[in-house]
Symmetry: C4
Subunit: 206 residues, 4 copies
């Protein structure tokens, strides 16, 4: 069906729901230590779980920034069609997956298998960044679905900044072969960098 | 109470919430491998879980297509009554169940019990497809609850296409007796087929 | 703060979210059989879990009917104040708890402890039914917060029908001392009875 | 990007989603007793879990009061900018974490490690209270983002009452070094105190 609907409100509401649930499910990766080793305190057991906290905060900030970008993108989009629904669906598929690689990193950082965990983690973000580009290009190339009255500078900024997403997470993926710690530090750094409000930055990559 | 309310907005909001949560809970079926076998790498353990990924993607796309159809149906419906609320409730019952048969398939594909898992999986989708028909007929037969100004071609297309849903998933159920793999491949194929935007297709089943 | 706000929209949205999540989390009580006993088929293992399905369907329909009632009540309420927020909050506390007694019944029906499970289950519904009455009385006694233009017959019907909720679930509680099966059958019967649209019935108890 | 958008509706919707999910996920801390000890009844096993119920109710009421405050704050805010989005995001990070320290308290109250659990619990609430202050000051200092027509008395009340939040939870943290029970009693007391509607109180902290 090639029908075009004016209404993006329910798509945004559904997407917001998925973003909100995925970001909140991340807390399920923070496990209560069930059995303390001989002589171990709860404080020590909690401190021992630091990779889970790093993974939690990194994924939370990343999903938050992605939600802000999704929100910003839809302020410019005036109409929806089936292609937009599909690419938005694929993007949401990526977002709902995030708690899984987050768990992987939380469980395997510092153990055998940490490289595989970091690769899956970065791979998920690359896939999401690609979906963001597909979604945006579906809406914006040739002004297909943009609101005619939308802010043209904002449109240009998104085109310019979104292309960096796959590259930056691709760099994270490549870094994982050299150093898993550096790769995850890049993930956290990107999340903080894009979350921080900046005067100079004109848009924000995924 | 036979009272009729004009307002379908809160029904859509509640339904969107249920769809969004059910689709996001699917990720809980992707389990982090807790114990690696002697000499097994994490990559191998993750690869070994491929049925879980297939089941996840199939169920995600299926719920996504169902949400798109629900969304499309409610653009045509102008009023709600108790019967509509009930059938919508039964439909949502079906949607919330989906993570359970998805887990079954993820756990049992390739093991004893895979046929039972595939039957439950297809049976759930048949039940949902029947609920879609009941919901639609409640709204559309004799124009009971349709928006008087709604698009008549869209109404006819839905009548035409919804009747295929129970049949196609019934075929999936029958196929499971011959080959579980073929049955699940049909499920995935249907999800992709209905998710793809198509010029030729006039509506979409299920 | 005794301030009164005109706006009930965000209360309804938040409540809808809680209802939608609580109803969807019920599926987590449907467990995939992890280990089949010697010679047991998956079908047999699934059939053996029938109490979980009964508890799931009963709780789903009960929460659904409660959501419909909440929805209907707020079509009559025009303003919110702090007391309304508090009683709505207590009601939501009851709703979010439902998955827990549902799990209890699913786990213990047919085993030692089934009476305690049925008592907790009915006790939860009694508490929710009382909250519904408190919430409604806060809004409706002396027309405190009703929409001045609201339907007076609907108001009277709610007063009349809500008082039955605590009594009917109180009966379920009492029945549990005689027969756990009869008590749970009453719970399921009530859920179906109130879910069915009925011409004769003027309102619906909890 | 320093762009300012008029629209706070989608921020509120996303925040409501996160609050609603976090408050509902608390129920996952109520565990069904899986194995009864020799001669133990289910009733005894359920009673034995009282710390989980106390922690559940305390966290539920605390999140509920926080939601009410968030709701009230946004009735005064007329516009959003990136700084507001960030501090709102940090606040939501705190809210989504709450189920984790709640689990800690539920598991460790009455056991070795209860002090650490109470410290983490209070520490989480201090962090959230600080985020509330940062969010509010971003919006209200110099009237940066307030709705020009908003109620000035309400604005002054929020300034006055929010500063108590970090202090009161700081007191709870300090109390945990003296008595864990007293610290958690203070947490529950604060939640009930702020949840109760009060004529005298002009605003509400945290």
């Amino acid at each position: 069906m090639a029908a075009v609907s004016n209404d993006t409100a329910r798509i945004e509401a559904f997407s917001d729901g998925v973003f909100a649930i995925a970001i909140t499910l991340l807390v399920l990766d923070l496990k209560v230590p069930r059995e303390l080793h001989e002589g171990q305190t709860l404080t020590a057991a909690l401190a021992h779980q630091w990779p889970a906290y790093v993974a939690f905060v990194t994924s939370f900030l990343t999903i938050l920034v992605m939600w802000i970008n999704h929100h910003r993108m839809f302020t410019l989009i005036g109409r929806a069609d089936d292609r937009l629904l599909i690419f938005n669906g694929l993007l949401l598929l990526g977002i709902t997956v995030v708690p899984f690689p987050t768990s992987l990193v939380a469980e395997y950082l510092g153990h055998d298998g940490q490289r595989a965990a970091a690769l899956v983690y970065n791979g998920t973000f690359i896939a999401i960044a690609i979906c963001f580009n597909l979604l945006w290009r579906t809406a914006a190339v040739g002004d297909r679905l943009l609101n005619p009255a939308c802010d043209r500078t904002a449109v240009r900024n998104i085109f310019e900044s979104y292309r960096w997403g796959p590259l930056l997470y691709g760099l994270g993926l490549a870094l994982a072969f050299v150093s898993v710690g550096a790769s995850l530090a890049l993930n956290l750094g990107l999340a903080i960098f894009f979350a921080l409000p900046q005067r100079q930055r004109k848009g924000s990559a995924v």
